[in-house]
Structures are given as C-alpha cells and as structure tokens.
C-alpha cells in the first residue's frame, strides 16, 4: 500500500521533471526533427514552420538567420 503511494509520487515528480527538461528551458534550435531511415531531413520549429535540416545545421554552426538565408537562398522565417 505504501509502495503505491511512493511510486505515484515518484511518477509525478518524474513527469514534472521530464516535461521541464524536454519541453522548456532555453532553446538553441527548434523542436521537432523528422528523419527518414535515420537521416534527419525536416525540421519542424515551434511555429510549425518547415525548413531543411541543412539550414538548421548552418544555424547550429553559429551563423545568424540572415547569413543562413543568404547561403540557403530560401525565404524561411525563423
């Protein structure tokens, strides 16, 4: 009986922790990556905008969105 209570408490805390570290906090780049055969292809950002992962990789390399736009030649907004 006691075990159940402890497990539920633990589950609750687990849920709260995971929700925070996985969904909140400072974001470097966007959220969702769609990959095909383990190759990352499409990035779905928090505003549900789609861009190629190549663009995203450029961003990760520290380039600003403006620089990336020039390189990628796209009109994606970030």
């Amino acid at each position: 009986m006691y075990d159940n209570v402890v497990d539920s408490s633990r589950d609750m805390t687990l849920l709260e922790v995971l929700d925070r570290v996985l969904n909140k906090g400072v974001i470097l780049v966007g959220d969702l990556v769609i990959s095909v055969a383990d190759i990352d292809l499409v990035y779905v950002g928090v505003k549900l905008m789609l861009s190629s992962v190549e663009t995203m990789e450029q961003l990760k390399d520290g380039k600003t969105p403006a620089e990336v736009k020039r390189i990628a030649g796209t009109s994606d907004e970030f």
């Binding site: 687990l14 709260e16 922790v17 570290v21 909140k24 906090g25 400072v26």
Partner: protein, 254 residues
C-alpha cells in the same frame, strides 16, 4: 575504418547570472559533478556565464535517466547561482561557439536573469474527474439550458444532441476552471507573483499553472493551495517545486 575517438561536443546545462567581480564559478563547479560524474566547465562573457560538459554527441544516450541526471545538475548549480536552464540536448561544437552565443545574446540573457533573480518556479496541477465535478456543479448551481427540439427521431439529430451535451459539459467545466483560476490569481496577486496558467490542459487536468515567486514565499503559496483544496474537495490540487525557472525563459536567441 575510422578508429579516431568521436569528436567531443559541449552540452550546455544552464546560463548563469554572474555579476561578481571575483569570478569563483570555476571553484564552485569543481565541487560538483555533471552527468555521469563528468566535469562541469564554465565560460563567461560580461555578466553571464554558461555551464557545460564535454560529451561525444554521437555516443550521448538521450534517455530518461540521463535527462533526470541533467535536471539534477541544474538543480545543484541553481543552489548557488540565478540561472536559466537549457533544454536537454543543447549541444554546441566549441567553447568559442558558446562564448559567441553569450556575447550575441548578452543583454537578452541578462534581462531574463534579472527577472528571475532570487525567485523560484512552482507548478500547480489541478486534477478533476469530470463526472465528479459535474455532480458537484449540478448540486450547487442552477443551470439554464435550452432543450433541443422534441423531434429526436433522426439519427443525425441524436448525434447532434450527444455532441451538444458533451459541449455543454465542457463549457461548464471551463466555467468551473475559470472560477478556480480566479481564486488562485487572488492569492498570486498578494504575492506579486508572475504566473502562466492554462485551463483544461487535458481531460483530467482542470488547471495547469506555473508561478514565479520569491524563495521566502514558498510557505505562503503552500498555505494558499491548502486553503483552496479545503474549499474545493471534489478536485485535487498538486503543488510541486521549487524548480529553476524552466517556464520563465523569455530569451529568443539570435
């Protein structure tokens, strides 16, 4: 075949407020352990610092246990510094990259950090069984409802009626959630808290909120929730915290 060790990348834990003239961050960090007992490294720019660990990104196990450990590290560091937690899995290639990121976003980070200085986040979830609440509402409030037409013969009319009942139930729950939120807000106002509240986040979660309050207001908050629970025994209040300010990050990185 490539036998080289996979390249190490930097996993960032958090961005800290570090205004002190004497920078003893390195010292503080050397007394703590990162994920899997790895070292915690600082890098600073202006009045902020980042804390990171070195990991091989390709070998990095992004599973539940590691995510929990990550949160634990942030909790430890938060005992000594005001910080903004990074989302789990935030990698950068070099420490120069991190320094550049700090530089480019310095003012944004600083502003955000000052907003959360000396404050902690607390989370409230109000759970409710819609049937239980329904009964409670029926007993306490007279509800005026326009009945649907008498002609219930057609299959589609019955379908609409069913959907309409569900819709009305949802509206009643929403109104009830509004009441709860109004009560909570009263208490929060007294504490000058910043808050973000969602109603009916899911079928069982009537209210889902996070609050930012001063550390020394924790008991006041616990008491307030206790009072609300007494007032509304048919629903379940669960308060968690103190948390680092995961939900109060406002910085949009350049």
């Amino acid at each position: 075949m490539n036998f080289n060790k996979p390249p190490m990348e930097k996993l960032i834990y958090a961005i800290l407020l570090n205004k002190s003239e004497t920078d003893n961050l390195q010292q503080v960090l050397s007394g703590m352990a990162g994920i899997d007992k790895t070292a915690l490294n600082p890098i600073s720019f202006g009045q902020i610092s980042a804390v990171y660990g070195n990991f091989s990104k390709s070998d990095f196990a992004a599973n539940q246990a590691v995510a929990i450990a990550f949160a634990g590290v942030i909790d430890e560091v938060a005992k000594h510094y005001t910080l903004l937690p990074m989302r789990f899995g935030s990698f950068m290639k070099t420490s120069d990259d991190i320094a550049k990121m700090l530089e480019q976003n310095h003012d944004g980070f600083l502003q955000n950090l000052e907003k959360v200085e000396n404050k902690f986040e607390f989370g409230l979830k109000v759970f409710g069984d819609s049937t239980k609440i329904q009964e409670h509402l029926k007993a306490t409030t007279p509800v005026e409802e326009k009945p649907l037409s008498e002609n219930e013969g057609s299959k589609f009319k019955i379908y609409v009626n069913k959907k309409l009942q569900a819709h009305r139930l949802e509206e009643r729950l929403l109104t009830f959630a509004d009441t709860i939120v109004a009560e909570i807000t009263q208490y929060l106002k007294q504490m000058e808290a910043t808050s973000k509240i969602r109603k009916m986040a899911s079928e069982y979660i009537l209210v889902d909120g996070v609050f930012l309050i001063k550390k020394n207001q924790q008991q006041q908050l616990v008491d307030a929730i206790g009072a609300l629970q007494k007032q509304y025994p048919e629903i379940k209040f669960v308060l968690t915290g103190p948390w680092p300010p995961y939900n109060f990050v406002e910085v949009k990185l350049k």
